[in-house]
């Protein structure tokens, strides 16, 4: 039973990872691409790790997979945040048909 659940988790994880990769190619600018990759790859990879935990049970490999998934949930958004902030500060423009950029407005406002 736990084997079936584990394999199901791994398949779901792989599907979400593939969606993340498609998003990386199809979406137009840095920020949108970060959105797709961060969300899909975090849940996809965590799902694969939880699947490993289900199949292996609480053995050496299982507990390490569980720890890795927690670290991934805590660190992946921080990395995305750092990349997005760095990109904006170094002047990467938003996609042409973006609606608004309050961050840019506020930065210009502060400089004046």
């Amino acid at each position: 039973m736990s084997n079936i659940v584990g394999y199901a988790c791994i398949v779901i994880g792989l599907v979400f990872d593939i969606f993340g990769c498609i998003g990386l190619i199809r979406l137009p600018d840095v920020y949108n691409r970060l959105q797709a990759t961060t969300k899909c790859v975090t849940l996809g990879t965590c799902s694969i790790l939880i699947g490993t935990l289900c199949i292996k049970g609480f053995t050496g490999a299982g507990t390490k997979a569980f720890l890795c998934s927690i670290f991934l949930i805590l660190t992946a958004p921080v990395a995305a945040h750092a990349l997005a902030r760095g990109a904006h500060i170094s002047g990467v423009k938003l996609w042409g048909s973006s609606v608004c950029d309050k961050y840019h407005q506020d930065k210009e406002h502060k400089q004046k």
Partner: protein, 164 residues
Amino acid sequence: MKNKIVLFLVGYVVWILLSWPLDRAHAYVGVVVVGLVAFLTGDLFTRRPHHFLHVTRYLWFGCYVPLFLWECLKANIDVALRVLSPHLPINPGIVKVKTTLKSDTALTFLANSITLTPGTLCVDIDQKEGVLYIHWIDVRSSEVEKATQLIVERFEKPLKKIFE
């Protein structure tokens, strides 16, 4: 001193999980290694160690985890649908939202939660003014109050109970 003890306990749990199945040699080495790490970096880990003794904080954390996982799953399905649909239904932009949270940990968790929930990515935080800049893949309102209501509010209450 208290924050070093807290870090020692947390670190020792992580060590046990890393070196599972536990035997005597690993347990002794763990005390030395975790003790050294706790001694060197205990002050960086937490500034208010007495918060770790409040039971209600753990209960609220138990409520927060399912909410977070549900939002995370919804976010993934949302992104998958957007990416797979042929004409790419996106309407992106950076909006500004306000938050009442003040402490470092609470803000970090809020930013992480926002990044992993549907269509939003935290770009920058201004801690002094309590302002977050959010990249939103489908901007429904560029006004500060409306965006705050849509993005931040569902997380603010449990995070306030846990970390403030």
